[in-house]
């Protein structure tokens, strides 16, 4: 008997018929003798509907109240899935975030999980119930409802698996695993049977929509075995999707590059002509961080005559707000020459654990893009990824060219057999 946490995405919960299908899949695992904790997302479109309603009433609403509204979509889903399970004769009991409780900080709309008290869930599991927990939500110290931000149900699933020391966390979604690139853009993209935690972290943070980044961080921190599967296969399908692993398997030939991620959710901002002195990065990014705006890439050029340019990227939704803060508060303070920005950019990244030991990946990447006449606006690298920012209109082309150049359509063992 295993303890399995299953998370189902919004499309999987999209209609009463789809919900019954989820219930049948859960029932299958119960009949196989497993204990189940299930995290269903809000029905597809529901959270957006609620947020649009809130925006219509007040575009500058307090985040605390937005969370009160937005959390109801997931609450409806736990009730619906529980009664769908009851209809199949499966004992089920629902929990909202505060009923578990799932304790978070009070950063409304993007809260972080601090602790999960598992007593209630363990008691119900021991009593033979399937426990259905609302994703995306928690409760802060003051008892207010919080939400974890978009895709937060993944994080709920993984965090529950960690707290309960579950044998596996299965993430059911509308794709059947992790691919070398988005198959809608690269038809030759290949599904990976396994991907390492570090690669998945980069793929998630770079815009691969399969898993929310925080859920991958959680999985890494607590060594949760996460499997990405499709909820659109037959209920009895034995397809295993993609497993996220923690150790590089030494017996396995490792591909240099696992996949290509891309992201057009970002905007680029450059602060021109700032004095190159200690504390300048903090003077620029401090007010941005205070406004709870996440910064992704940060680049500072070498200075000329004591002056430098400072660039960074933020989520496109926060571009206007970041620009305002810079113009009104940062620019006068540090006496910058100007602030320029562009929200029509895309980030394209090569990700692969094998990159660590293989030189020349970056230069090959830049060469491929140059050959297609694609200008690179920013570059950022880590041990296992190389990212470039390009004009948004070249994004698909860049992804396809790189997929072909790095032979991602071929499985690693085939590659190994080549002379």
């Amino acid at each position: 008997m295993s303890l399995i946490v299953q998370k189902y995405g919004g499309t999987s919960m999209g209609s009463p018929e789809r919900i019954r299908e989820v219930a049948r899949r859960v029932e299958r695992f119960v009949k196989e003798g497993h204990q189940l904790v299930v995290v269903p997302s809000a029905m597809s479109g529901e959270t957006n509907r609620l947020l649009a309603l809130a925006r219509e009433v007040n575009p500058d609403a307090s985040a605390r109240e937005i969370d009160v509204i937005a959390s109801t979509g997931d609450q409806v889903s736990i009730g619906l899935l529980s009664i769908a399970l009851q209809k199949l004769g499966v004992k089920a009991r629902s929990y909202t975030g505060y009923q578990v409780p799932i304790r978070t900080d009070n950063a409304y709309s993007k809260a972080r999980i601090l602790a999960i008290e598992e007593g209630n869930i363990r008691r119900d599991l021991a009593a033979g119930h399937v426990v259905v927990v609302a994703g995306f939500q928690g409760v802060d110290e003051g008892g207010s409802i919080t939400t974890l931000g978009r895709g937060g149900s993944d994080t709920t699933g993984v965090a529950l698996a960690a707290a309960l020391k579950a044998d596996e966390c299965q993430i059911y979604t509308d794709v059947d695993g992790v691919y070398t690139a988005d198959p809608r853009i690269v038809p030759e993209a290949r599904r990976l049977d396994t991907v390492t935690f570090e690669e998945m972290l980069e793929l998630a943070s770079l815009g691969s929509k399969v898993l929310q980044i925080r859920s991958v961080e959680f999985a890494g921190k607590y060594k949760v075995k996460v499997r990405v599967l499709s909820s659109f296969t037959d209920v009895h399908s034995t397809d295993m999707g993609t497993l996220i692993t923690f150790e590089e398997d030494e017996n396995m030939e490792q591909a240099i590059i696992s996949g290509i991620a891309f992201n057009r959710d970002e905007a680029k901002i450059t602060v021109l002509g700032v004095p190159d002195r200690p504390g300048i990065a903090f003077a620029i990014l401090g007010p941005i961080a205070d406004a709870n705006i996440d910064v992704d890439m940060i680049i500072q050029n070498a200075s000329t005559e004591g002056m430098t340019d400072f660039s960074f990227t933020v989520h496109r939704n926060e571009y206007q707000r970041a620009m305002q803060i810079l113009e009104s508060r940062v620019k006068p303070e540090i006496k910058a020459r100007g602030i320029v920005g562009d929200d029509r950019i895309a980030k394209v990244s090569l990700v692969g654990i094998g990159m660590r030991t293989h030189a020349g990946i970056a230069s090959k990447m830049f060469g491929c893009l140059a050959a297609e006449g694609i200008n690179i606006q920013m570059i950022s690298t880590s041990e296992i990824k190389t990212s470039v920012v390009v004009d948004e209109k070249y994004m698909e082309l860049a992804v396809r060219v790189l997929h072909k150049a790095f032979e991602l359509d071929k499985a690693p063992d085939q590659e190994k057999m080549r002379p």
Copy 2:
């Protein structure tokens, strides 16, 4: 400075524009220097939409999970009203039932309020906030969400007013007060400036849809001053609606009859040929009560040869379930001759505090109905009301005939002036 509890109905919260209108009305009272606790209902149609969704997934769902689902409509409303108030510069903070907390028993879907802890609300009021509390919901001892049944937001409003010892509880609805009869059926119906608590209790229990019965009971028990007003008048309207009073004003000429209520939500059940012995009523109604089915009228005829017929009415929605219980569990037990029922009935009632001291009201009522050829199936009387059950198709006719016969279109002082 007064402390006012305001409750707004679903139609008043029907759209973002309507919600902004509610916020403007609340703002007016804040500007007049009052402290406000506001209970908005779910947006009109929302709770029905949620219940229909649940029924589609599982028509025999557990009531606990139904409440998890149904309570979300009111949760959305508290968030929306709070941000609408914030947009006007009014400080506002929302509370769900469990955040207050509003403690109830665990009779899911029809829970009763046991206690309201007022500390959080008092703290926010003292800090200058409008406190927006979700109606219709509470939390049981085990931390599960409960709902109070249809119209439960009225009860929440009155119970909050009682707990906070508010100066007034204002119930805003789509009618502008309590009428002598439903104006849709009797165009000559007249609005009452005041109605006694006892009359309101009868009117509410008899199907006048203005206020939920439990809210009136609460108001009576804790002497809460309740005023029924329209939310469709101008925000600055000085219309005072109908006030529910606790003492009969001795200086006021009291009308004999205050109003006529009607109700087609009931069904009639008769258990035929039961032995007339002690305990028989309990043997019949015990299993009905165990199934949490409310019984309204109960009539037992005089017995002939030790046998009698026993009739009662239940809500039409519970007719089938009640019939099943009687057929399967009660009939064999007490050896009744048969069970017959009719769910096409209506109850029509005359209500008036003056009835206590005026004989002949009932006989005048029966005479009027007989003159129109309307057969009376059941009769039930109390100190201040006389109810009859008639075939559903005669309901409107009966109401109109009685309204005219008892001259309810004329104000009491006019009546006094008659020779």
